[in-house]
């Protein structure tokens, strides 16, 4: 047994999961714009985009940005059927029933039409009466909810993201990984995980 230096693959799930990496906006746009837009919509909006394009990452970034306006933040991942995963992103030490909660509802398209209508009806009531906030992520646009942002990653932003994770990753490899999986950044990052592993082994 010995103390050792640990080299973590910068593209491992623990490093690139939503909330761990920064969402990169298109030119001349910052998180403040999105957060203001969300407040204008009375904290009721949806983020639309394809698989792996950063919807959950953006939703968590918006939620964290609005931390001061809410007492707690809950991440609710819908997994299809009747199952869901609930995780507190931020929770007060002594929660009360009157607390204002910001809900991040991930994967609205997983619900059936009936389930979705029922859930949106109850959540809209909570939104209007208790001031709870709801930010939904979805692959398809739902007419009842205003659109907050439409995610569509491009090569430049993906390149910047990778450079933040691993500054020496060669540009052609980044471009190749992105083009192969476009617009699924998550899959492209998983491919770079393997590239990094082979680099590490070769350099040993």
């Amino acid at each position: 047994m010995s103390l050792n230096q640990v080299f973590r693959n910068p593209f491992s799930t623990a490093s690139v999961s939503p909330g761990k990496i920064e969402f990169l906006f298109p030119k001349e746009m910052v998180i403040d714009d999105v957060a203001q837009n969300f407040s204008r919509n009375r904290h009721w909006a949806q983020i639309v985009g394809p698989h792996g394009s950063g919807k959950s990452t953006l939703a968590i970034a918006v939620a964290n940005h609005l931390k001061s306006k809410f007492d707690s933040i809950v991440m609710m991942t819908l997994l299809g059927g009747n199952s869901l995963k609930r995780k507190f992103i931020f929770q007060p030490s002594n929660p009360r029933k009157t607390d204002k909660v910001l809900h991040v509802v991930d994967g609205l398209e997983k619900l059936s039409k009936f389930q979705r209508q029922l859930m949106l009806y109850h959540q809209k009531k909570l939104n209007l009466s208790h001031g709870h906030g709801f930010v939904f992520t979805t692959h398809r646009t739902w007419s009842q909810i205003p659109i907050l942002f439409e995610t569509s990653p491009d090569t430049v932003r993906f390149y910047k993201l990778v450079k933040k994770l691993h500054p020496t990753m060669p540009a052609p490899i980044i471009r190749q990984a992105f083009e192969k999986h476009r617009p699924n950044c998550r899959e492209a990052l998983m491919e770079l995980y393997d590239v990094y592993e082979s680099f590490c082994f070769a350099s040993r």
Binding site: T13, H51, G52, K55, L78, L79, G80, K110, R186
Partner: protein
């Protein structure tokens, strides 16, 4: 002839080590034929009952219909039982049954594998504990076969065959009506102008029945093929000198193969897989990566003879420095022994034996029963300075 009938009644004509390759095909095909004959008879009886239904009721009544339905259901049950027995017999060979009977006293040995191993955190418990072996100490159990393909193709075949039967009866019924009315018309000297009043032939049903017949044949072919894949050749037995395995240790293996075919190839490999599950947004993905593979045994041109199982022994070493079996919520490291058998005119056969590998003895003062043959323990790899062992 009497002997053949006797063997048939005992269900041994096609099974066991006397099996020829065509016998397997014939048995699976015959079981499938009985099953589908029952399905066709059942659907046909009900359809005819509806078409010729009495004005007072939905179905025609009478003993004939009841008899037909009973006969049809009997054929379905017989076919299902035969197919299930084929699959079961394949997994439990006479060889293994004999070993279980003669060495039942040793069963308490294997009960230990079911107990949780608190001394070894994050090492999975044994799902399929080994049984007592015939020649070596333990006999490994193969991973359960996937029967979903067989069930899906069976369901498709039943639906398509039933649909075709119904359409065929509708067409035959319409043609019969038309013919009988035509004959009546001729007898009554009705002119050709009256022929237009004859009932129409259901052309849509007639045209639809042809592609459905083709699809039904194709699905039945797939069903028989799946069945042969599951039951083909004979059972493979894999025995080991000690179990569970430990990193760096050598083990003696015995492989037995029954059947009556000429095997083009019999291949045994040791593989290690890393299996990681991760969330991709709201989807769950699993990645399976083979990180180690080593061929342990290969033999070409094995002639399996009547009543004689092929048996061969070989040795294996779990490489020193290798990772042990591991299981947590999202990650798994799994060791497997994969047996591949290839016979002429037969689908390639793949049998997996998931095995447990424990850490090396330097760290684990375990039960002490992990090495059965002391002569095999003398490998220098554990004391080697090279971490790989060589």
């Amino acid at each position: 002839m009497l002997r053949r009938i006797n063997l048939f009644l005992r269900g041994r004509l096609f099974s066991g080590s006397n099996r020829r390759w065509w016998a397997g095909v014939a048995e699976a095909s015959f079981a499938g034929f009985i099953f589908f004959l029952g399905v066709i008879l059942f659907v046909a009886s009900l359809t005819v009952a509806v078409i010729y239904g009495s004005p007072n009721g939905f179905f025609v009544s009478g003993y004939q219909l009841i008899l037909q339905i009973v006969l049809a259901l009997s054929l379905v049950c017989l076919g299902t039982y035969w197919i299930a027995r084929l699959i079961w017999d394949f997994g439990v060979s006479a060889d293994r049954r004999g070993a279980l009977a003669t060495r039942a006293s040793e069963l308490e040995l294997v009960q230990d594998f079911r107990k949780p191993r608190t001394k070894l955190p994050a090492i999975p418990a044994e799902r399929l504990p080994p049984r007592p072996g015939r020649k070596l100490k333990f006999r490994l159990q193969p991973s359960p076969r996937n029967v979903w393909g067989l069930l899906t193709s069976a369901a498709f075949s039943i639906v398509l065959t039933s649909t075709f039967t119904i359409l065929l009866i509708i067409v035959i019924n319409a043609l019969q009506n038309r013919t009988s009315q035509w004959e009546t018309g001729i007898q009554q000297s009705i002119g050709p102008s009256r022929l237009s009043s004859l009932p129409d032939v259901p052309w849509i049903a007639a045209v639809l029945s042809l592609p459905i017949l083709a699809a039904a044949f194709w699905s039945i072919y797939l069903f028989i093929r799946q069945l042969l894949k599951l039951t083909g050749i004979g059972p493979t037995g894999l025995e080991v000198s000690a179990y569970p395995f430990q990193v760096g240790e050598c083990y003696r293996f015995g492989i037995s193969q029954t059947g009556r075919v000429r095997l083009k190839l019999l291949d045994v490999s040791l593989v290690c897989h890393e299996i990681a599950t991760y969330d991709e947004g709201t989807d769950i993905r699993t990645e399976n990566r083979e990180v180690f593979s080593k061929r342990l045994f290969r033999r070409r041109g094995i002639m399996l003879r009547r009543g004689q199982a092929f048996y061969s022994e070989f040795q294996m070493q779990i490489p020193a420095g290798a990772m042990h079996s591991f299981k947590s919520s999202n990650n798994r490291i799994q060791w497997k022994i994969i047996v591949v058998a290839q016979a002429k005119n037969w689908p390639r056969l793949n049998r997996n034996f998931t095995v447990l590998v424990h850490p090396a003895d330097e760290t684990y003062q375990g039960t002490g029963n992990h090495v059965a043959n002391p002569s095999l323990k003398s490998g220098p790899s554990r004391n080697s300075t090279n971490p790989v062992g060589f």
